[in-house]
Amino acid sequence: MLEIIWTNRESLIKSKLADKPLFVAAPDTGLLSLIAGAHLIQTLKAELLGYIDADWIPPISIVNNGDPSMPIRIYSTNNLDILLSETPILPSAWRHFAIATYQVAIQLSSILVIGATGIPNPKRIEIQDINNLRVLYLGKFLDMEGISQNIREKYKLANKFTGTLAGPYSSLISLMIRHNMPFIMILIDSYPEYPDPESAAKLVEELNSLFNLNVDVKSLLDRGAEIRLMARQLAIQTKKHQLLAGQKTGAPPLNMYV
């Protein structure tokens, strides 16, 4: 069972007409996209558009100051829509999550789907300056219409990823290819097993450059230590799911990247 519940129809219609990309923020290596997504939602004062409800979503409620909400939510800003999952997705549900994301992108008439995750780098501790973090891109959109020249130019100049990818985003990529939907994945050096707000800040800088967001990362960096503490349990659960995936696919979840 999968249901996308739109809570703000007027904003949904505005989003559909705006030709915006959809940023998919789900817990994965370093919790990069989740930390970046939450920061974007807060800083850009994103508007809640709706939720995903499905039987593969764990029975979790996110409660903020007495206000409960569903763990997988959809937000809208002027330049970008954001699909945020505050719960790790079990490996058995990765494909379901990909299908749900695709349905959201269709209903929002998204021009592009963007995902991001960490490159688990055991030497990450030695990279203290975020400008020295490796940033790699992969995607399929150059031969498709509707993508801005800025994004095309930026992608052409970027370092490209070569290797094998596993995880929730891998299922998403497979589905995007199957349905010929434009997508980009951004991979950034991160701690293999710890939340990485500094790498998330680098991701926000990349998104700023791609989509003219102009989001300040200083506040994210200043709160880095606090975020690492608060995200401990989520980092452990995400890691467990990655290990489970390794057992299922027969491939090691770590160090699969260039």
């Binding site: 880095g224 690492r228 503490l229 452990i236 799911h241």
Partner: protein, 135 residues
């Protein structure tokens, strides 16, 4: 319908139940457990192994580096402690905790094999790396 048909169904059912058990068990194991009585947070850690060394990393955001203590309690257990620069209110860690402030990190780490001694310690970006000599 043949016995084989029902056997196939039962085999598939057992396989799916096993998968579900593994998923649920993995989710329940290995959570961090903070020591509320000692006002101590259990930090995240990782363990890597080389042929002659165990490398333990411990993520201790806001730790006062001059208070970091490491001690081998036995050949297979390492204790890591450190005071936190800015005391953390418990509700920021977990809203179900009673009201208190966390003042330190503390973790007892089970090592994958017996070790002789702590070779070296380094601290970068609030991540402590401990090198231990194997036998």
């Amino acid at each position: 319908m043949s016995d084989e048909f029902f056997e196939d169904i039962m085999r598939e059912l057992r396989r799916r139940i096993k998968e579900l058990e593994t998923d649920v068990t993995s989710l329940l194991k290995g959570e961090v457990i903070d020591d509320i009585d000692d006002e101590a947070i259990e930090p995240l850690s990782t363990i890597y192994e080389t042929s002659d060394t165990i490398i333990v990393t411990v993520d201790m955001p806001l730790v006062k580096s001059d208070t970091i203590e490491t001690k081998l309690l036995s050949e297979e257990h390492l204790l890591v402690k450190g005071e936190i620069k800015k005391h953390i209110e418990s509700h920021k860690i977990d809203s179900t905790y009673p009201y208190l402030t966390f003042k330190r990190y503390k973790k007892l780490i089970s090592l994958p094999c017996k070790v002789k001694s702590i070779k070296r310690l380094s601290v970068r970006g609030d991540i402590v790396t401990i090198y231990l000599s194997k036998y």
